[in-house]
Symmetry: C3
Subunit: 242 residues, 3 copies
C-alpha cells in the first residue's frame, strides 16, 4: 500500500533517474520511503535509488513492492505542470491525481519483473567530487569525437579523454577546479551511450561523487529532491583497445 | 469581389478555425462579412463560421463566392509577422499584400468544390460553458490514454473520461469550476483526432459553449477575432463499445 | 603555422560563411590574416573571404596553407559557448582549446583539395545596398512560391520576384527604403537553394551590397566579425524559361 502527496517535480526527478536504465521498475515500499534498484537489459549499468519519506508532503506506505511503468507515468506527469501530485495504490491500479484529473494505470506484477541486482561493493581508489553540470559538459565534449570516454586521475588532476580514428579530445581539471580530489592512479574506458543518459539527472546535482579505478566500474553518487533522494549509478568498463 | 484590410492575426485565426477540417474552403461574401461552412472529408465534423465586416480595418465585398487554398494562404501569412494584411480578388487571383510584399495566388473554382453542408438543428439537453483553455486541457489529458473521449454531465458536474485497455483517466469539473452549467443526463463518445485539432482554436477563447446529449453530436461554439467571429463546430459521436 | 586566439563567435561566423558552399576549406595563412576562396561542388557559387589579423585577440601565422574540416570544427565549437577559443597547428593536427578542453583534429592535405577558384572580375551595372536582414526576408518570401528568385532593378526600385505554376510573389523596395541604389536596368534569375543558405550569414550584416546585371551573376558583399572580415559571394544566374 502506498499513499503519498508530493510536488510533481520530485516525482519527475525520480523517474528520470531510474528510466535512464529501465522502462519499468520495482518500487520497494516501507515507512521510511521508497527504494528502487535496477539493472539495464544489457547488464552494463545499475542504479540504486533511495528516497526518504521526508521528500513527500505526506507519505504512508506498508512494507511491500509495486511494479510501475515509468514511461507511462512520465507521460501522464507531463500534464501536471508544477502542481502537487497524489499517487495511491488501489486494487492493482496506481491512481495519479492532480488538479481535477484522476488517472488510473495498471500496476505491473513485481514477481514477473527482473530481480533486483545485487549492487557489488567496490573498493575504488580515486575519488573526484565536482559539480554535476561540469560532469555533463565533459560527457558532451567527448560525444563530438567518439562513442567511448576514458575517465581517470593523474597526479592532482582529473581527466577525460576520447579518441576517434583521427581526432581526440582531452579535458583536464586540476584539483583547484574540483570540489575535492582523492588522488590515485586511475583510468577506465566507458560507453558514452550510458553516460550520456545518466549525465542528465547528474547535471542537476550540485555535487557528483565519481569513484574510479584502473579498468574498473565507475560509481557516480549524487543527491536529488533537495537531498532527500540518494542516487548511485554503477557502470561497467569497456576493454581499452590500445 | 473582395477587398479587405485586417490584422494578420485575425486572418490567421480564421484559417486555423476552418483548416481544422478542410484544406480548401468556399468563402461566401457579402456586405456583412464572410461566411464559411465546411465538412471534413470523412463526414464526421462540420464547421460553421461567420465573421462580421466589423472585424476588418476596411471591408468591401459584393455578393459571391471564392474558393481559397487555406494551406497556401497560411504558409504565406507566416511571413507577415503581426503587420496588417490586405487581401483582394483580382481576375481569378487573390492578392495578399503586407509590408513591401505582394503575393498573388490562384483562386479555386467554387463550383468544383464540395457543396456547403446543411448544418442540422439539434436539441441538445445539457450545456456546459467553460474556458477554452480548460477544454483543451481535458482533451490533452485524454490523449495520454486513448483515441476516444467521453464527454458528459452527471448531476451538477461536467466530466471527461478516456479508457485504454488497462488505464483510465477521468476529469470532473463541478458547477462552481465552470462558467455555467445547464444540467441534464448526457454522455457521448468522440474521436480525439478531431477534438485535438479543434481544441487549438477553442483554447484561445475565453468561453466555449459545449452542448451535449446522450450518444448525440457535440456542438462547440465560441468567438474569435475579438467577438466579431462566430464559430460552431459539430462533431458526430462514436458508438460506445461497452 | 597558425596560432591564434579569438572569440568563439568570430570563428563561428567564419565557418558559417564558407560552409554555405563547401564542407572542407583551404585556409591561406599569412601575417595579415586568413584568406579562403571556395567554389561549391556544382560550380554555381563562389565565396571569397578575407579576415584580417586584427579580428583576433592574438594572431601568429607563417605563409602557408592548411586544409580544415569545417563541419567537424563547427560541431566542436558548439561546446564553446561564448568563450575565447585558441586554435593552433601542431604536427598535422589542429588543436582547438577552450575552457579546460583540448580538441585535436586532423588537418586535411591542401594539395588533395580542389584548387582555389579564380574569382572573375565582373562589371555589373546596378548596385543595391540594403540591410542583410531585409535581403533575407526577400529570399524567405520567395521560398513560399518557387525554387527560383529573380532579382532586379527597374527605375528607382529594387525588386524581387518568384513565380510558381499558379502563384507569384513580388517585393518592391523603392530607393528610399534602401541604404543606396545605383540604378541600371537589371534582372537575373537565381536558384533559391543557394541564396537560402547564403542569406543566413548575410542577415547578420548591417549592409549587404548587391551587384546585378541582366542575366549575369550576382555579387553579394558584406562584412562580418565587426568589419574585420570581408565576404564576397558570387552566384551564377539560371536561364529564365519565359
Amino acid at each position: 500500500m502506498l499513499k503519498a502527496v508530493m510536488s510533481a517535480g520530485i516525482l519527475k526527478e525520480l523517474i528520470e533517474v531510474v528510466s535512464t536504465l529501465v522502462d519499468e521498475a520495482r518500487f520497494k515500499l516501507s515507512d521510511d520511503g521508497i527504494v528502487i534498484k535496477a539493472v539495464d537489459p544489457a547488464n552494463v549499468a545499475m542504479v540504486s535509488f533511495e528516497i526518504s519519506s521526508d521528500a513527500f508532503d505526506s507519505f504512508e506506505a506498508s512494507d511491500g513492492e509495486i511494479g510501475v511503468d515509468l514511461v507511462k507515468l512520465n507521460d501522464i506527469l507531463s500534464m501536471s505542470g508544477s502542481d502537487d501530485v497524489s499517487i495511491e495504490t488501489d486494487d492493482g491500479k496506481l491512481l495519479i491525481k492532480f488538479l481535477d484529473l484522476t488517472y488510473a494505470i495498471s500496476l505491473l506484477d513485481p514477481s514477473s519483473m527482473r530481480k533486483d541486482p545485487k549492487i557489488p561493493t567496490l573498493e575504488l581508489p580515486a575519488q573526484i567530487v565536482l559539480s554535476g553540470d561540469e560532469f555533463r559538459r565533459a560527457v558532451r565534449a567527448a560525444e563530438k569525437i567518439s562513442d567511448h570516454i576514458a575517465l581517470g586521475v593523474e597526479g592532482k588532476m582529473f581527466f577525460m579523454e576520447a579518441k576517434g580514428d583521427l581526432d581526440k579530445v582531452r579535458l583536464e581539471l586540476p584539483e583547484d577546479k574540483l570540489i575535492s580530489l582523492k588522488s590515485a592512479p586511475a583510468r577506465s574506458l566507458y560507453s558514452l551511450e550510458y553516460l550520456k543518459d545518466m549525465s542528465k539527472p547528474i547535471s542537476k546535482a550540485d555535487e557528483a561523487i565519481i569513484d574510479l579505478g584502473k579498468d574498473f566500474p565507475v560509481r557516480i553518487s549524487f543527491k536529488i529532491a533537495g537531498d532527500a533522494g540518494n542516487v548511485e549509478y554503477l557502470l561497467a568498463p569497456r576493454i581499452e583497445a590500445e
